[in-house]
Amino acid sequence: MKRLTEKILSGDVRAIARAISWIENDYAQKEQLIDDLYPHCGNAVVWGLTGPPGSGKSTLLNLLIARERMKGKRVAVIAIDPSSPFSGGAILGDRLRMQKHSTDSGVFIRSMASRGHLGGVAGATADAIKVLDAAGFDLIIIETIGVGQTEIEVVEMTDVVLLLLVPGLGDEIQALKAGIMEIGDIFIINKSDKDEAMKTKAEVEYVLSLNDNPRKDRPNPIFMTSAVLNLGIDELSTGIDLYIEELRVNGLIEDKRRKRIAREIRLMITAKIRREVEKQLGLNERIDSWVDQVYRRKRRPYAMINELSDTFFKKNRT
């Protein structure tokens, strides 16, 4: 363990990669590891990049990483894709679009399947961020699709949320408003090479104007990019830096990080207790028999679970 910690702190790629596997597989040793690394965390800036599948997140990242490398930053990416709900397997294809950096030792890219781990993908992301932060990466980017509560939880683990939209989404922008639009800091209209990009921008501006933006004095920045034509990338890159600088100056980054820690603590404690409850009750082993009793109307659902929870609490009272 001590050796793994030291290796991670020295930036050893194999050790970093192995640590992330421990996290994904929810190994018990991960707790000690994260705690050992924690004093060395706090230097990295974390971006969340989210948007519909196919909107160009990975393609754009390929270009943004190049800008950050020119600024001398070491960059790590965690690219999250959904697992198949049928098989539990996944095809993780984000690396394919980030080839520019495939042999650069200053760039680390890790693909993660969203449902591959027991502790929840948001918890795994938060821990992986700590490993990469302790390993000395200046910038950590989380790429994830922008649909679903799980994905929202993931990007909430970051300092700044970049929301990628594309022309032709139509009503989807309205639908997005409810969830993900609210957590976006910086809005990017990618595929600006396409017709209707300006119309999309106007729609985004409109939706944002409806939001109860806590900072009415300064609206969320919107950028237009084309990741295939390499357009608007410098403006975006500078815009992100400025945004983060402002967050720092007015103390908002500290607020955000405190909120993030609050979320993490909630997640960690509920996950931990839930696991213990499930273990003590023997949930996995007994669920079929409970189902059977309820299905055949031998027992009533509330009476049954109250009995179970009473037994649990009695046993744990002492």
Partner: protein
Amino acid sequence: MRRKIRILMAKPGLDGHDRGVKYISRALRDAGYEVIYTGIRQSPEAIAHAAIQEDVDFVGLSLLSGAHNELFPEIVRLIRKYGGESIIVFAGGIIPEKDIPFLKEHGVEAIFTPGASFKEVADFIEQNKRRLSH
């Protein structure tokens, strides 16, 4: 074993025929594995770096262009050099019978020629995953 098996699928060399590797990738996903697909025309360096960063258990190589005797051993060498001592490498593609012993000697543990079924690949993974270290 509760943990997910992770498999990197890569195409070194210059040919752009990725139908086979995509088919196998999808079949592996449907069998419950996590597949990292890196696309065509990958350099040995890029494949080895990806294998380490992704901490995969297996690397599957696909090649139709005939340069397997140079590329496959080089990829295995680089994977080992960067610390992937227990990563299991297998390959598929148009590979003449006579080259197979040479490739096996150089760390390519299984070779699936065009007639092979997906089941043979899946069986190979199932049989070998027990050897994995963590």
